[in-house]
């Protein structure tokens, strides 16, 4: 465990802020980057690194969701419906963890993410070429999950219908299982494409809703690490402070940015995570 000198504290604060910014804009926890960074750069033992990363995800999720719920960006009904299957999936994943090979799951996950990243990129590029999504007065709701939010980048309200809830719940179960199996915490990297590609939720609302969801599963795992005394208090405290600073900055960026551009950035992130998983499995 590194000694927290002023220089190391500053580096952790800056890294935490970057992860908070990434998390709040794209709806991911960032554990997939934080754990290797803490282990390889600072020599933090793996279990403590995972514990610190889970607490950081809880911090981003709670801070960002508070603002996004008020702005109508986070779709609470969609979030809670997907949380049910995600939570059940994470229990199933934890139970299966000893029976399946980690490398096989990682390979499957990596292979799934590659086409997802291409689809996200194509969808974002098409939308950028043809202009922002339709905006206008709020349409009548056709299902309890449909919603609308004010989008300053599009200059009006964006209404959207939520489709394919049954398959989306199934994939969320899979996302939850992955987080239980691979310890990737929130699994926002799966939830965002599920909402965006399968349910038709605009990228901004998908990122905000994913952020809303991931705090719950991360909190459940973080509590277990906390009870076992595996959370490195001071190091986590410094990272969480940085994460909160970055998250509040990210809320502003998310509000102002165009959904289509976020979608293209997210596709690059998915590709990166997919490749990392593939190389990790081989």
């Amino acid at each position: 465990m590194p000694e927290l000198t002023p220089l190391i504290s500053l580096a952790l604060l800056g890294f935490g802020a970057a992860i908070g910014l990434l998390g709040s804009v794209l709806g991911v926890g960032g554990g997939i980057f934080m754990v290797p960074f803490l282990v390889l750069v600072f020599g933090v033992p793996i279990h403590q690194a995972v514990a610190a990363s889970l607490v950081a995800i809880v911090a981003t999720s709670s801070a960002v969701a508070a603002v996004n719920v008020e702005r109508g960006l986070a779709n609470i009904r969609l979030g809670i419906a997907l949380e049910v299957t995600t939570a059940l999936g994470s229990v199933a994943g934890a139970l299966l963890a000893n029976r399946l090979s980690g490398a096989a799951v990682q390979l499957l996950f990596g292979l799934t993410l590659l086409p997802v990243s291409v689809l996200m990129f194509l969808k974002g590029r098409r939308a950028l070429r043809h202009g922002p999504a339709a905006s206008g007065p709020r349409a009548a709701k056709s299902s309890a999950f449909d919603s609308a939010f004010y989008d300053p980048a599009a200059g009006g309200h964006t209404n959207y219908e939520v489709r394919n809830m049954a398959p989306a719940s199934g994939v969320s179960f899979f996302a939850g299982s992955l987080s239980g199996l691979l310890g990737i915490g929130g699994g926002g990297v799966v939830q965002v494409p599920v909402m965006n590609l399968l349910c038709g939720v605009p990228m901004k609302a998908a990122a905000a809703t994913s952020n809303f969801i991931i705090g719950v599963s991360a909190a459940a795992s973080a509590f277990v690490y906390f009870r076992r005394g595996l959370v490195p208090m001071e190091l986590t405290g410094v990272i969480v402070t940085g994460v909160l600073l970055g998250s509040f900055l990210g809320i502003y960026v998310l509000y102002k940015a165009r959904s289509e551009k976020l979608q293209i950035i997210f596709s690059a992130l998915t590709l990166l995570v997919g490749l990392k998983m593939l190389f990790g499995a081989i």
């Binding site: 709670s62 609470i76 509590f223 906390f226 001071e234 969480v240």
Partner: protein, 92 residues
């Protein structure tokens, strides 16, 4: 009448309340640790625990909120999440 706006405000206040309580406890913990007080680490620990429990408090408020608005399907869904959360926290 408990409306959607009140519901959103309840969730927002729960989350912000948890985050600010945690920041306050962690700052006090860091400050006291630097001053050499033995109560510093305890406060830091309490701050992190407050943060971890914030999403749980949010799910409790969802159960309450959906029960108040009469949306029983979502109240039940929130309750299932709370139950799974409780089981995985206590059995983990």
């Amino acid at each position: 009448m408990f409306q959607e706006k009140d519901f959103n405000r309840l969730i927002q206040r729960t989350l912000l309340g948890g985050v600010f309580l945690s920041v306050f406890l962690m700052s006090a913990g860091f400050g006291l640790s630097l001053a050499g007080s033995p109560s510093g680490p305890g406060l830091l620990r309490a701050g992190l625990l407050a943060l971890i429990l914030t999403p749980v408090a949010r799910v409790v408020m969802l159960v309450y909120g959906y029960w108040r608005t009469g949306e029983s399907y979502f109240a039940l869904a929130s309750f299932v999440v709370l139950a799974v959360l409780a089981v995985s926290m206590l059995a983990g």
